[in-house]
């Protein structure tokens, strides 16, 4: 079972925080196919958030094929994230390491890099939703 938590200072939308936490649990293996996600009521009772936010997060996960809702029973994990995805991650991580080294040589400090990174993230995700 997964227990959600919220980071108010992250600036990340609440439903996305829930999505990320489920994905992380899938990567780490704490959630496996067949496991049941907590009901909206349970999440709401723990976090005092809008139930629609939980439903929105679950819909997003469903859309990605990670979970599936069974009417009257709950929401269950369909598949885990691993294998190829983790290998992808390793490759991406190598690219990012190289980028950070390049930036450092160019004289950027930690904050400069974080600013650039978050700007790139914002632009990228806006293209997604647009």
């Amino acid at each position: 079972m997964i227990e959600f938590h919220l980071d108010h200072r992250s600036g990340v939308a609440t439903y996305l925080q829930l999505v990320h936490q489920v994905k992380q649990a899938l990567r780490l293996g704490t959630l496996r196919p067949g496991d049941k996600l907590p009901t909206a009521r349970e999440v709401v009772d723990a976090l005092a958030i809008n139930p629609n936010t939980v439903l929105k997060a679950y819909r997003e996960l469903e859309r990605e094929g990670l979970v599936a809702g069974r009417p009257g029973l709950g929401t269950f994990v369909q598949r885990s994230i691993g294998g190829a995805r983790l290998a992808d991650q390793a490759a991406l991580r190598r690219d990012l390491d190289a980028w950070v080294r390049r930036a450092r040589t160019a004289g950027l400090d930690r904050d400069d890099m974080e600013t650039l990174f978050s700007m790139a993230m914002v632009d990228c995700f806006r293209e997604d939703t647009a």
Partner: protein, 284 residues
Amino acid sequence: MSVALRTTGLGVRYRRADALRDCSLAVPAGRIAALVGPNGAGKTTLLHVAVGLLTPTSGEVSVPGRVAFMAQDKPLYDTFTVAEMLAFGRRLNRVWDQEYATARLTGLGIPLDRRTARLSGGQQAQVALTVALARRPDLLVLDEPLANLDPLARHDVMRSLMVEVAEQPLTVLISSHVVADLRDTCDWLIVLGGGRVQVSGDVDDLLAEHLALTGPAELVDTPPAGTRVVEASRTGRQARLLVRGAPVLDPRWSARPVDLEELVMAYLRSPQASALPALAAVRA
């Protein structure tokens, strides 16, 4: 999309001053809507009109379903016991779920035989909320429900309210002058400033539509094409804009997303700005 509350051209006049001017808004069913604005913006007046306590000077209000109201300061009869408050609700309402009310209060550990004056602030809020919820309303209107509560009680009240919403079809309209209180709970935002509705819309849509821009000071008067400036300010050689609209392409501007508080503040500081859906869209 069915609507739980709609106001059209609502106006309320007290003696000489307008408390509300031309307020048109709609709250879709199933939403948790936040009504925010500074003190004196007309929030309470708008809520009182919505629940029928106040007759508007002009315009119309329509609430298709049953509405229940929890007024500011959560009034209860202080000589009544909790059980008598429930008897009050039972005898004054056509629809009343006594079993639910008793179970809810017992579940919260509130003794039914205690006088309401001897309950803590959080418990009083829960009793007032139970009296409203046991009427099985379609629309629940709460006027500053978290004011005068300690942080723990605020969390508990909000949490139990969210559980109610998860368990039954319920639209909630909550007023507050503290935006942070409503950040995680509301998915619809109404900003009221100076008696006018400035913003009314889905929270996620609003956050996605707005950007905070930072750029060189000389650009403050020439905002990027395709955007509408909500608020502009300059400090030294830097210009800051909060805009609504399409992505910014000009490389001299750097953009970041806004949070709910920034968005509300920007509108409240610019009384002329507004972000309202076209009426046709709201009616759809």
